[in-house]
Symmetry: C2
Subunit: 234 residues, 2 copies
């Protein structure tokens, strides 16, 4: 919808071998990784990392911030496929296809490490461990997608939002504030709902002291109850 090619801030070298994905792989291997040329690229909100249908030339690792992957219907509705978090990979398409099948845009801002696919492929030829690693990550993604299919296909609005909030705040210790980087629109596009429904659920839960919101941060007040909502009991 929002078309705007990234005016990429800068492109400094990104030390691939230091990326957490490749941790625990042996020093000899890390040594080989140093040779892979890759750039650390900085994107601000509303800049496009890549668009669906574009040539899939790069593979990415998120270093900082969050990236949303989404697809758009012919009728113009966006569906967010996944929110990619720091340390996670995206842009698998290039390893298999010529074109990206979805678009990638940062939430707010993000720094990503950009690796040309042919370099990665070369590296994979020499170092099979790389492809094993990517395979493992990819299977994890698949499991995550399975879970989301269950959410979208078999759950109602309250359950979807509740389990999203739970997983979003999952890392944070109970009762602490978690920055909520997503707008209402983005939450709606992620959960297959409308802005209004999301807003109404929030309002309802705030009134019932289930959650609390301040600025762009969220705090879960009644974890137990929210979990019950997520599982459609209550």
């Amino acid at each position: 919808m929002m078309e705007q090619q990234a005016s990429v801030d800068q492109a400094t070298h990104c030390p691939v071998n230091e990326l957490p994905i490749f941790a625990g792989l042996g020093d000899k291997f890390r040594e080989a990784l140093k040779k892979v040329e890759s750039d650390a690229v900085n994107y601000s909100a509303a800049e496009t990392i890549y668009s669906a249908g574009a040539e899939a030339q790069n593979f990415y690792v998120v270093r900082d911030g969050y990236v949303k992957l989404f697809k758009t219907t012919l009728s113009g509705k966006d569906q967010i496929i996944r929110i990619v978090k720091p340390g996670e990979l995206f842009g698998f398409d290039g390893l298999v296809d010529v074109l990206y099948n979805h678009s990638a845009v940062p939430l707010k801002h993000a720094t990503v490490c950009r690796i040309p696919v042919e370099r990665l492929r070369t590296l994979g030829d020499q170092r099979p461990e790389v492809e094993r690693l990517i395979m493992v990550r990819c299977i994890k993604e698949l499991q995550h997608a399975d879970e989301r299919l269950l959410e979208l296909g078999a759950k109602r609005s309250a359950e979807r939002l509740a389990s999203f909030l739970l997983s979003w705040c999952g890392g944070t210790p109970s009762g602490k504030w978690t920055p909520l980087v997503l707008s209402r629109l983005e939450i709606a596009q992620l959960l297959g709902l409308t802005i209004e429904t999301v807003s109404r659920l929030f309002a309802q839960w705030k009134r019932a002291s289930l959650v609390e919101e301040k600025r762009q941060a969220l705090r879960i007040l009644d974890l137990k109850l929210l979990q019950q909502v997520a599982d459609s009991r209550e």
Copy 2:
């Protein structure tokens, strides 16, 4: 829901090297594959190949028939994640996790090739091509999942059913009969709808001569129009 452990018909040796996935890999490699022990297993409808939460010991290739992968909500609703077709792989979980995260049951009946994951892992150590192949397949699955997320999250009932029918009959030449292996319930569980809505849409489209149904077979009469329905024009 339907709990029933498979009383597997028989388990004859399955020549892995002859599987279409491994075609085009060079004879030397195919030679190595011969050593992999794997069984061809026959399942009839309602037999469970594996259940979510079970130990993920095997990796599978569909030889004949179709396999449905599904997850079940705590409240007991099933969502079909994917219909696995002949030549396709499933059971990736075992390569990464101890347990399966979804269940696998054949539609009607199916013969699958069952490969113990540790064998596959051993083979992968010697032959990196194997993991590359699995990686590629996995990425394809991910793209497919992306598309389904768009369907479930951003499309209404008619669009979902239309694009499902189109993709199901995709292989068949236009105007020909395609066996429809799924029950109304299974279509509903795949598309996140109810039996009734699916049935009503079928009825409507039959009346309008969009599609025709005979026994367990389906024929698309007005391809153009059905495509328009799938894209929510019309």
